[in-house]
Amino acid sequence: MDFTVASMLALDGVTNGALYALLAMAIVLVFAVTRVLFIAQGEFVVFGAMSLAQLSSDKLPSTVWLLGVLLVAAILQELLVGIRERKPNRRLALSISRLAVVPLIVIAITWVSVPLRPPLEMKALLSLALVAPMGPLLYRLVYRSLATASVLTLLIVSVGVHFVLVGLGLVLFGPEGYRTPAFIDTSWDIAGVPVSGQAILVIVATSALIGGLFWLFTFTFRGMALRAVAINELGARIVGLSAQRAGETSFMLAAVIGALSGILIASSTTIYYDTGFLIGLKGFVAAVFAGLASFPGALAGAIAVGLIESFGSFWSSALKDSIVFAAVIPILLWRSVFFGVAEEH
């Protein structure tokens, strides 16, 4: 291996690592706020990528139907719960309309704009907007009523959610793979190493999003409220913050982050209905690296995962996934030796 190959591998590793970092942060965020280990995080990646792929061939994306299915299910659930708890009709109508308004607007905009052939950037925004409401809808449908369940129960439920979403993905997108056009086609030569514009876009977008999350959690009231729910849920409810709202917000962020990752990788990787699991799992490894608790730790872990993967694939491309997942074992050993007690609580 000479310098050029090593730097190409390193660039590749950092680019992938940046994407894993996004997913890892989403996983850490969701876990901190709701105690859900969200295995299905990778599915949002697929939904984002698929929406953009179908939109860029000027088709109505199947995620419109998926969003519709989730919305109908959530409305039915709201109705059933409302009737069982004898909610007054006015309040029931209000909560249903509040739940339905954003998804319906997004579906309508997509419907109208597909024949107009908007530019690629607009399509990317539409894809994000289509996937974003799926997060809160999933939270309402599945996790809201399990607020007091154990972490293990929530994990098992997440595995179920993952299978359901992959199944729906197969029905809606079919078994064939999709790719999207690249946002930036040009490529530069830096010190003999080819650097693609897309790789730079990935790194810039990731850094911007991480910066944005940092700003949200440090300087805004909303972010402070999310942290408060993560630290002490009862304490947060006592000051009027709804744990449910915080759960919905964290799932929405997770969906946006997932979809954005999908949009960023879909030009360089062929995406199938079930690609998300493996990508999400690598984000999960990075999150474990940080003990599911620290954002900077998750970032470091993700870059490490990206590098291990790219160098691993150079030495043995058939085993690259095994190498990445095998890396969890020393990490867990290291964490249990040095942080074991802290994690008990």
């Binding site: 002490n232 304490g235 409810r237 006592i238 000051v239 009027g240 913050l241």
Partner: protein, 248 residues
């Protein structure tokens, strides 16, 4: 009789299937401090948590003329009922200032422009908190945590403050400080429902009191009248008597 800010009728609550409270009725008029006294395990905290909306209960709770029996804690707060629970439930990893700001969620949500100004009046009431402003809540002493919990509740600009055992585990001088602060707040128009084991300290600042024993009210009356009822203090509140003497 003046219309009550809080009117509770036949409230029953408990943990699981075991009722701790049996059909309690109670009222608190606006601007008053009403205390609920009783020994350990009488159900005082259960009553307060049920009124705050943390615990499920049956019976009716009317607040400010509206039936709030079935709404959860976060919505009760939005109507103006602030709860300071026995365990305080602070945000330990966040600073004193952040804790207080989070308490300001209600006025912020209601569109009060100057909601942050609440900080200054809290610091005026508890100057200790101002010194501890950038410190993490988890590192505070017991008395400071108590002040922070009350301060955080006050940031919501409540109409009714539900205060659980403010004297618990605190040195007598600090208890005095906190009781004085509570009494000051009520002079400014806040209604307080105060749950206390330390009967004398509580009655001294209250207008009315209830005595809770095994989930039932065994006595009620004007605070002064209760305080002078030696037999009552002896039989129900004896354990806190010696503790209360120290406060003098």
């Amino acid at each position: 009789m003046m219309p009550a800010l809080l009117q509770v009728d036949r409230l029953t609550s408990g943990y699981g299937k075991v009722p701790v409270l049996e059909e309690l009725s109670l009222r608190a008029a606006a601007g008053n401090i009403v205390s609920v006294l009783g020994p350990n395990g009488a159900g005082k905290s259960t009553l307060l948590n049920a009124l705050g909306g943390i615990l499920r209960s049956t019976g009716t709770v009317r607040f400010d003329g509206e039936d709030i029996s079935h709404i959860p804690v976060e919505e009760r707060l939005m109507r103006g009922i602030a709860l300071v629970p026995e365990k305080r439930e602070l945000f330990g990893a966040m600073t004193v200032e952040e804790n207080l700001l989070l308490g300001g969620y209600r006025p912020r949500q209601l569109g009060v422009r100057a909601w942050r100004a609440g900080l200054d009046s809290i610091f005026e009431l508890f100057p200790r908190l101002k010194e501890r402003r950038p410190q993490r809540a988890g590192t505070l002493s017991g008395g400071e945590r108590q002040m922070l919990a009350i301060g955080r509740a006050l940031m919501s600009r409540p109409k009714l403050l539900l205060l659980d055992e403010p004297s618990l585990g605190l040195a007598p001088l600090i208890v005095q400080d906190i009781m004085r602060a509570v009494s000051e707040l009520s002079e400014r128009g806040l209604t307080v429902l105060l749950v206390e084991q330390n009967a004398r300290a509580a009655l001294r600042i209250s207008t009315y009191g209830y005595v809770l024993e095994m989930g039932r009210f065994v006595a009620e009356g004007d605070a002064r009248q209760l305080m002078n009822d030696e037999r009552l203090i002896e039989s129900y509140l004896g354990s806190s008597n010696s503790q209360a003497m120290v406060v003098h």
